[in-house]
């Protein structure tokens, strides 16, 4: 059972990394493994040894008065016009280092293809019906066909669809659910994050029969369904050789999937390409919410190391779609006036989505000299000309980020606005901190002759121009920014070790109900012992590294609010706290909100078709919900037309039904 969001968050940061540079080769094949005792036997012993967590009861023990939900009243979102068949050609930057979906190296850019986007889960959050109900978000059925919440006992009951099958034909049963808890809590998988998550977020699991189980939680959180339903069972029959050599033994084995696609051994061309194949007669292919999706028979992912080369491959028609989110691609490299677009061979789609926004901005390390001064931080906020970045770099397509939690709907602060570029206010604020005189180069100096100069580090090679613009503008306010562009892994390492002054980075957030604060702002993630028992600052505290508190922010008041927020079971109370915390964060000024990218822009060849309304509200990429289909007849027609020069009507579409102001 894979937990929903946090690994994705990491993925977002490391994605595109040169991380996989030394890819593929090397690891030995699991061709001739030594026999291993059956892990299912070990799992049973583990259940018996942990009776507090693993419970076995009979169907009669399921409470009769439960209000079961099956999500079937929700509308479908795929297009009935979709055609099955064909091959989708796309690219990945690095060859996957493993086919495992857990353990070392498994969190790369290939993972969405075998896990996040193409697996089924017990139930999934409805991507269009996103308003909050008293039970949280609405879910549509996946592996489960119904579920129920027992508020009193903080328990979610789930019933698995008896027709559900693994891609290798084995039935999915409660045993796979139980095994999942053994699996994710075991040290064999070498994945401490999962070990911790499955030990702390859940307080138990009960098996009633082969298809009915219940999950017990230590707290009743408003997003309890996300923890209960947005997970996958784990194929016990596949992992029966689980042992200490798990990472090596399972390195290149294809995991049976709950979803519609599998990787066949013969489709792995190491270092060059991987092809996914649609499962024949997939059990859910005619189920409501799942039909008309996952249409291509094959998805071929070719390794192209360089983005500009991949773009050329797209223009040639070797790959079928391309992400045109950067203004440079949308306006210059594939302008509306270009031949392929005007003749209708390539469609350009701009789709406004409505999801929590990745936090693109500057994260200031409060443990650094000068940056520990709030006046300096406020001054820096005023010295950053994000509006010019948005106007001149994104060509006014992006929007200004207002809080650290934009895009959470009712959870986003309705009135708080981030600071705009203002030289006078910046100078005033710097003056309060003692920086009053401009030096010969226009940079402010204090009485000691110290320059107002900070290093800004980033791992985003393609966004380095953003920093160049900020740098040029900041000089006007007497602030010197030294830009450092590192390889993305090195940049992330630097910030994780808290060696940064200021970092330009974003946390990629999943479509969650409410923002997380503990990871990023709690003092427990800033210092080992942040405060003495009497509440005063511990003078000997040591920075804590490898956490997400990039600002090293430690504030007692903030901590208390976060703790209350994390314990709360009332949406209203949580909202109030979230707003208060955002205000506190604004006051603290250690996070300079940058910009939001409110859309997905994609270039598609004419044979790639999308539903008439473009995509679903919370889509974060073109392919995430697999609503597209490949029309091989159109492919032939278009290719012939390219030779003869025949033109079709141009297709440049903007879908702004979910656009936020």
């Amino acid at each position: 059972m894979l937990p929903p969001k946090l690994p994705r968050l990491l993925l977002g940061l490391i994605i595109s990394a040169g991380l996989l540079l030394l890819s593929a080769c090397g690891k030995k094949d699991a061709a001739d493994p030594t026999p291993q005792p059956d892990a299912r036997v070990e799992a049973k012993a583990y259940y018996a040894a942990n009776p507090d967590f693993f419970h076995f009861k009979t169907p009669a023990d399921v409470p009769a008065e439960l209000a079961w939900d099956d999500g079937n009243d929700l509308p479908e979102f795929a297009s009935p016009e979709a055609k099955k068949g064909g091959t989708l050609n796309f690219w990945i930057q690095d060859f996957p280092r493993t086919l495992r979906i857990i353990g070392p190296d498994s969190n790369g850019s290939f993972r969405p293809w075998i896990l996040d986007d193409n697996s089924m889960l017990f139930a999934k959050r409805h991507p269009n019906v996103t308003s909050l109900t008293e039970d949280g978000f609405r879910y549509y059925p996946g592996i489960a066909d119904r579920w129920a919440l027992d508020r009193e006992n903080k328990t979610v009951y789930v019933h698995i669809n008896p027709k559900a099958r693994w891609s290798d034909g084995e039935p999915i049963t409660t045993d796979d659910v139980m095994f999942g808890y053994f699996f994710h809590r075991s040290s064999y998988i070498k994945a401490p994050w999962y070990n911790n998550f499955y030990s702390t977020k859940y307080s138990g699991v009960t098996k009633f029969d082969d298809y009915t189980f219940a999950l017990h939680f230590p707290e009743l959180r408003p997003d309890i369904f996300a923890l209960a339903l947005e997970t996958n069972p784990v194929p016990a029959h596949f992992y029966k050789e689980l042992g200490d050599d798990f990472p090596d033994r399972y390195q290149w084995r294809n995991v049976p999937s709950t979803g519609p696609y599998i990787v066949r051994d013969k489709d792995i061309d190491k270092g060059r390409s991987v092809t996914l194949t649609r499962v024949k007669d997939w059990w859910a292919q005619d189920n409501k919410f799942w039909r008309h999706r996952y249409n291509p028979d094959r998805i071929r992912l070719v390794v192209i190391r360089d983005t500009s080369k991949a773009f050329e491959a797209f223009r040639k028609g070797d790959i079928d779609y391309f992400n045109l989110s950067l203004a440079e691609y949308w306006y210059d490299k594939l302008p509306d006036s270009s031949d392929e677009v005007q003749k209708g061979y390539i469609q350009k789609l701009k789709f406004y989505n409505d999801v929590p926004r990745p936090t693109y901005g500057l994260w200031m390390n409060e443990s650094r000299p000068l940056l520990d001064n709030q006046d300096i931080r406020v001054g820096i906020q005023y010295a950053l000309n994000w509006d010019l970045v948005i106007q001149k770099f994104s060509r006014s397509d992006w929007t200004r980020m207002q809080t650290s939690a934009d895009g959470y709907g009712e959870f986003t602060h309705p009135t708080l606005r981030s600071r705009s570029f203002d030289i006078d206010k910046a100078l005033q604020s710097f003056a309060k901190a003692g920086f009053k005189q401009r030096g010969p180069d226009g940079i402010l100096l204090n009485d000691k002759g110290q320059r107002l100069s900070f290093q800004v580090t980033t791992g985003y090679e393609n966004l380095k121009d953003v920093l160049t613009i900020l740098q040029e503008e900041a000089i006007k306010a007497g602030l010197d920014i030294r830009v450092e562009v590192l390889d993305s892994t090195a940049a992330w390492k630097k910030v994780q070790e808290r060696k940064h002054d200021i970092q330009f980075v974003a946390f990629n957030v999943g479509p969650e109900m409410f923002p997380r604060y503990w990871e990023t702002y709690h003092s427990a993630n800033a210092y080992d012992v942040p405060f003495l028992p009497d509440g005063s600052v511990n003078p000997d505290r040591q920075l804590k590294t490898q956490t997400n508190n990039l600002q090293a922010i430690a504030n007692r008041n903030f901590d208390q609010m976060i703790e209350a927020y994390d314990k709360s079971d009332s949406l209203e109370e949580m909202k109030k706290l979230a707003f208060k915390m955002e205000e506190l964060l604004y006051h603290d000024a250690s996070f300079a909100p940058g910009f939001n990218i409110p859309f997905i822009r994609t270039g598609l060849w004419r044979w790639v078709r999308m539903p008439a309304d473009g995509n679903v509200r919370i889509a974060t990429s073109f392919s995430e919900y697999s609503l597209y289909w490949i029309d091989e007849d159109l492919r032939k027609e278009t290719e012939e037309a390219r030779k003869s020069g025949q033109a079709f009507a141009p297709a440049i579409k903007v879908y702004d039904q979910f656009k936020q102001d």
Partner: protein, 357 residues
């Protein structure tokens, strides 16, 4: 100081090789011009006359907008000021450099930061070679990029030769066990992959350092991995010279090793060294360009040809002038230096002037 008649003959011969000689003149001219760079390519004018007062903004501290009653406290935008002077016609004037842009300054084109074509390709006036992806003037970047590259290479050459020649001469002079050990050490040392070291170094000790300090570090690293090749030549040359009578005579007269090596042997091996010099410069320029291209060279926003080439390959179809200018400039400089190198080699060819006993 009177030059050795042999050297005079060599120089005369160099002069007679037209291609190399004129390349030398052009290159020296370019280096001289680049030293005056701030007066020629800059966003600060050479001189401003405002309300009867003369200002010389080029080298001094920066003049805020308030100096010219523009109502802001950061550095004056002199191009706007020039336009204002022209429209107001109050007798204020300024002497602007021929290229009125600094290499790090973003200028919007059609309202956004994107590459602008050169002025002769219907681009905005003033950008002779157009602008790069963030709207920085390509001519200015090439100009300052050349200056940094050439001085970097000169410094690189001096340092590598200093180390390489000293160690090479010592190996040749002392020979024996010393020679043997140092040779093995050099073999081990030169097996360390230079590129990885640069990559590791720049990701591990990046910089609270200033840009000049980081350039200095890059220089040191490159020198550390380049001095070895010079030792081989110097070692053999020294071995050869050491066996000559004049060396023996010097030793008999009581000269110490230092004096023998540097006063007697070195001047006689100078022709070997001199012929290598231009090619070392070529390889240094190529190396720094390649490193910049890979993103491990000079720290941004230092202007560099390699960085422009990199941008150029990414915008090959939309802004061909970026790669075009950078490529042409690089080829031009490398050809100049190579021509000089060939001429020097020919002029200093020992076969022409020495007779073997």
């Amino acid at each position: 100081m009177a030059l050795n008649p042999l050297t005079v003959r060599k120089l005369k011969r160099f002069r007679s090789i037209g291609r190399g000689y004129y390349s030398f003149i052009i290159l020296m001219g370019l280096i001289l011009l680049s030293l005056l760079g701030e007066l020629l390519v800059n966003n600060r004018p050479i001189m401003v006359s405002y309300e009867g007062k003369w200002h010389f903004p080029t080298y001094g501290a920066n003049l805020t907008g308030n100096t010219f009653d523009l109502g802001y406290s950061y550095e004056t935008n002199y191009r706007d000021l020039r336009d204002q002077f022209l429209t107001e016609d109050k007798g204020h004037w300024m002497l602007a450099p021929p290229v009125f842009y600094s290499p790090n300054e973003n200028t919007p084109y059609e309202g956004v930061f994107k590459p602008a074509p050169p002025s002769w390709m219907n681009g905005p006036a003033g950008h002779w070679l157009g602008t790069d992806t963030t709207g920085r003037d390509i001519f200015a970047r090439l100009f300052y990029g050349f200056r940094i590259a050439i001085f970097f290479s000169l410094a690189f050459m001096v340092l590598t030769y200093l180390v390489g020649i000293t160690i090479g001469c010592l190996m040749g002079y002392y020979g024996g066990v010393f020679d043997l050990i140092v040779q093995r050490l050099i073999e081990i040392w030169s097996n360390i992959p230079f590129l990885y070291i640069v990559i590791i170094l720049f990701s591990v000790i990046p910089s609270t350092f200033s840009i000049p300090a980081r350039i200095g570090m890059l220089l040191v690293v490159m020198v550390l991995f380049s001095w070895t090749s010079m030792t081989y030549y110097m070692r053999t040359a020294t071995y050869r010279e050491k066996a000559r009578d004049y060396t023996a005579a010097a030793v008999v007269l009581g000269a110490g090793p230092g004096r023998v090596i540097f006063n007697h042997i070195l001047p006689n091996t100078i022709s070997t060294i001199v012929t290598f010099m231009p090619f070392t410069i070529v390889s240094a320029i190529t190396a720094i360009t390649a490193l910049d291209f890979l993103g491990f060279g000079l720290p941004p926003p230092t202007p560099s040809m390699g960085e422009l080439l990199k941008q150029g390959t990414q915008t090959l179809t939309t802004a061909p002038w970026i790669v075009g200018s950078a490529f042409a400039a690089l080829v031009f400089i490398l050809i100049l230096v190579t021509f000089i190198g060939e001429a020097v080699r020919e002029a200093f060819d020992p076969k022409k002037f020495t007779t073997y006993q």
